[in-house]
Symmetry: C2
Subunit: 157 residues, 2 copies
Amino acid sequence: MSSPCAQHQHVHRLIQQPLTELTEKLRRGARKVTAPRQAILDVLRKHASPLTNKEIHAALGKEDCDLATIYRNMHTLELLGLVRRYDFGDGAARFELSAEEGSSHHHHLVCTRCRLIVEVDECFPEEFQSAIASRHGFTQVQHRLEFTGWCPKCQSR
Amino acid sequence: MSSPCAQHQHVHRLIQQPLTELTEKLRRGARKVTAPRQAILDVLRKHASPLTNKEIHAALGKEDCDLATIYRNMHTLELLGLVRRYDFGDGAARFELSAEEGSSHHHHLVCTRCRLIVEVDECFPEEFQSAIASRHGFTQVQHRLEFTGWCPKCQSR
DNA sequence: CTATTTGCAAACGATTTGCAAAACA
DNA sequence: TGTTTTGCAAATCGTTTGCAAATAG
């Protein structure tokens, strides 16, 4: 992971990568394609797992922007459907690009006693989800599925 | 839970309310049966949907106790498996009695734009969950399943 | 009596917001 | 230009924690 960019000034060429699609959606949502937004999406594209705002902030490096700006933008990006919000119960929201944007889809098994987290492959049946969506007239339906329990080590507690 | 078979004991002194079962678990967990705890469980038994600590606090009324006490107790009760923690993404944790304690098991479909919440009946296949649990050596496995999307009214936003 | 638990207040960490300056379209 | 967005700082809000007094067992 390298950031060959110069310091962020008033001199930023509309970069390189296939941000086209993302940019496209921003525009469609009547949002401006700003440096912070591009940087945030860029960080997200480079990470497989969900990141907290603070982690995103730390990963920005050169393209640094205010933490508050990240918070504001995560709301915007979530609203536009570009990112997905997660909540693993540790008090901090986490985000990753929406499935359509290329992120992998997976779930977690969390120990409610020691917070051990294990990745899980099983997923909620697509047919069921579609049925639920149409029955209630919802679109853009996704699901958040998390398993909780007591891990081997915590069972005797 | 190291011993699946619970023994009947002739040790009962202040069992005067229907909290017997809950009280039982508290004792087994070497916890004291205090007024705040009984009041909290009582409130939870009277509500179908998950409540935030603040809501529980408000519902206590006469049996009022400090908010901090509620926070501390919810952790204890969750640890003992008496209550279940939910997170609907609005920043506040919510709790309801564990399934075994009589609460109904259901899921939710939440609009990420206006926060409309609809109850859903579909549930994650039991076979799958069992497989996941045994594969990772977990016990007391439950799942948290939430659907998100855009409700009819918010689709045009 | 002794270990837990509670009330109270202060401490915290995550997230939000007001406002003037800066950046897009 | 007219808006939207950002930086900065202060404000919120949910939750946690230290400590002495109160309480269950």
